[in-house]
Amino acid sequence: MGTLLETKHLKKYFEVPQGTLHAVDDVSLSIEKGSTLGVVGESGCGKSTLGKLIMKLSQPTSGQILFDGTDIVPLTGKAFRSHRYQIQMIFQDPYATLDPRMSVGQLIAEPLEVSRLVQGKQAIDQRVDELMELVGLAQRLKNSYPHELDGGRRQRIGIARALAVNPQFIVCDEPVSALDVSIQAQVLNLLQDLQRDMGLTYMFITHDMSVVKHISDQIAVMYLGQVVEKCEAKELFANTMHPYSQALLSAIPIPNIHIERKKILLKGELSSPINPKPCCRFAVRCPYATEECFASEPAYREVKPGHFVACHKVGQHNDNNKQ
């Protein structure tokens, strides 16, 4: 199992009236073939922008995106077309991301027609049937329109569209957050089945800790454009190191009345990373922040094999925080 996708010092800045918004700031991640990397964070942390950069829906300010060893950032035109179909995306809002004037059949056929992977009307039609079966959509829905279907089925259409071109890598941008819990579970199971059967690699972007824990092998926690902690999923929950990850974990309401947890309530609100000062971005809200945190930016370093954290205080505050 080698690395399928790797980002190196990826940056995306936007110019806004108040200054420069560091949406994604020096993000270096790697994803193993066949595994799932969960990316969690709150709104405005840059996780969706990161997904769009990898999809090349937006061009990075600097940095590299290595896919199977090739940097895809400078690729354009024909050279890019062959890579385009290797990376696909499942979008958050299954209501807005499907053209309302196309039927289910047309929607799923579109990537096939565009990519010319399947030629001929009959062949396309047959492949559409296969894809519908694969994602669990009944054949009779082929001539239905998205507005007649519920969120779960619409998301299945989105998944079928992404799978149509036989990608190796799928960016899942909050694919279940618009769905009800019972439907969410169906879609999560479907995604896991597809991964197992087709050897897919996922980057799973979400704000929901329990979903990310369930589906991921590795988890990266993002805060204001930066990755603050990255490690194996199990390790993150057993040995949370960054104070933001700790707060995030403790903030989630758990549907169990027998677990008494000490909540870490953060001070203040999320800001946006406009003209960030050269200090730890979490320092203002951090319960453990000292002068050091306001003076310099902590390095993103490996504190344990496979466990990366960006915090000056790692190790110093963990002991007094165990339940």
Binding site: E42, S43, D150, G151, G152, R153, D180, V181, S182, I183, Q184, A185, Q186, L188, N189, Q192, H207, M209, S210, V211, K213, H214, I215, F237, A247, L248, L249, S250, A251, I252, P253, I254, P255, N256, I257, I259, K263, L265, L266, E269, L270
Partner: protein
């Protein structure tokens, strides 16, 4: 909290609400009965389209007519039948006896008025006091919800989502209501902000001994905030009981299904067990049990009759023929 049990703050009996639309009659709420005692927090849990918000709006008598239509049932707020009250009386009740906060704090505030004035306005409407007193009280309220009164003269757009929701809560609580209806109050907020807001709501509820109806789709929030819980499916209460009943031994297959659908943080589950099928079409409810199409435990009787909500143990009500029987 249930010691001083005189009249419950809310009593709903056999409430049925329909919406008349072009595509037929939507049976949004069907024969729902429940009550909330003073100082009690009831969680109302259900998925999209289950009828949660319709129930809340009918408590406030804020349902848009048409298309909605209360077919039958009574709603009593603090002993008064809401159905016979006129709009003038209702307006006096709203705010002082019962208040509501909505999911989206962005649209609930007037964008061209100072937030402080928006709080003071409610106080002026209900209490006979001078403008100055109202402003003082508004500052007081801002402090209560954790915002410095220095921000009195700021506009809603200068506040973040969590802060706006705090203002909305301040408005709702300004006149010391005995019941607060919170319709998905934190769904639009980030988790860390949600934790702050929930913590604050819980503190305020305890301090004031206020009753609360917490509408949510998140069982985690129910576990943290509520005393009792009602699970609704297709406009009906399918299970009702204390938190111990619902979380420790849920009996209705839908409740069990919901619990198993949520990826767990404290346990390792390889594979989720979702409820098969889709939410039932509320324009087309069957005569028999409306959950039986998705039910794993259904028997022949479930496809014939509609079960009643029965008390299987003290305080634990379930609407299922098979509840309480041993699993196969």
């Amino acid at each position: 909290m249930a010691e001083h049990k005189d009249t419950p703050i809310v009593e709903v009996e056999n409430l049925t609400v329909h919406y008349e639309t072009d595509d037929g009659i939507v049976e949004a709420v069907n024969n729902v009965s429940f009550h909330i005692d003073k100082g009690e927090v009831l969680g109302l849990v259900g998925e999209t389209g289950a009828g949660k918000t319709t129930i809340a709006l009918s408590l406030m008598k804020l349902l848009p007519v048409p298309p909605s239509h209360v077919v039958s049932g009574t709603v009593r707020l603090d002993g008064q039948d809401v159905g016979v009250l006129n709009e003038h009386h209702m307006r006096r009740l709203r705010g002082s006896t019962v208040s509501m906060i909505f999911q989206d704090p962005m649209t609930a505030l007037n964008p061209v008025k100072y937030v402080g004035d928006q709080i003071a306005e409610v106080i002026l409407l209900h209490d006979k006091c001078s403008k100055k007193d109202a402003m003082l009280k508004a500052c007081e309220m801002m402090k209560t919800v954790g915002i410095t009164p220095e921000r009195y003269k700021e506009y809603p757009h200068q506040f973040s989502g969590g802060m706006k929701q705090r203002i909305v809560i301040a408005i709702a609580l300004a006149c010391q209501p005995e019941l607060l209806i919170a319709d998905e109050p934190t769904t639009a907020l980030d988790v860390t902000i949600q934790a702050q807001v929930l913590e604050m709501m819980k503190d305020l509820q305890r301090e004031r001994g206020m009753a609360m109806l917490m509408i949510t789709h998140d069982l985690g929030i129910v576990a943290e905030m509520c005393d009792k819980c009602a699970i609704i499916y297709a406009g009906e209460i399918v299970e009702y009981g204390t938190l111990e009943h619902i979380f420790d031994h849920p009996l209705h297959p839908y409740t069990v299904g919901l619990m198993e659908s949520i990826p767990s943080l404290d346990k390792d589950v390889e594979r989720l067990k979702p409820i098969p099928g889709l939410m039932i079409d509320p324009t087309n409810l069957p005569q028999h049990c409306s959950f039986c199409e998705r039910c794993a435990r259904k028997c022949a009787r479930c496809e014939q009759d509609d079960p009643a909500l029965v008390e299987v143990e003290p305080g634990h009500w379930v609407k299922c023929f098979c509840a309480g029987k041993e699993d196969a």
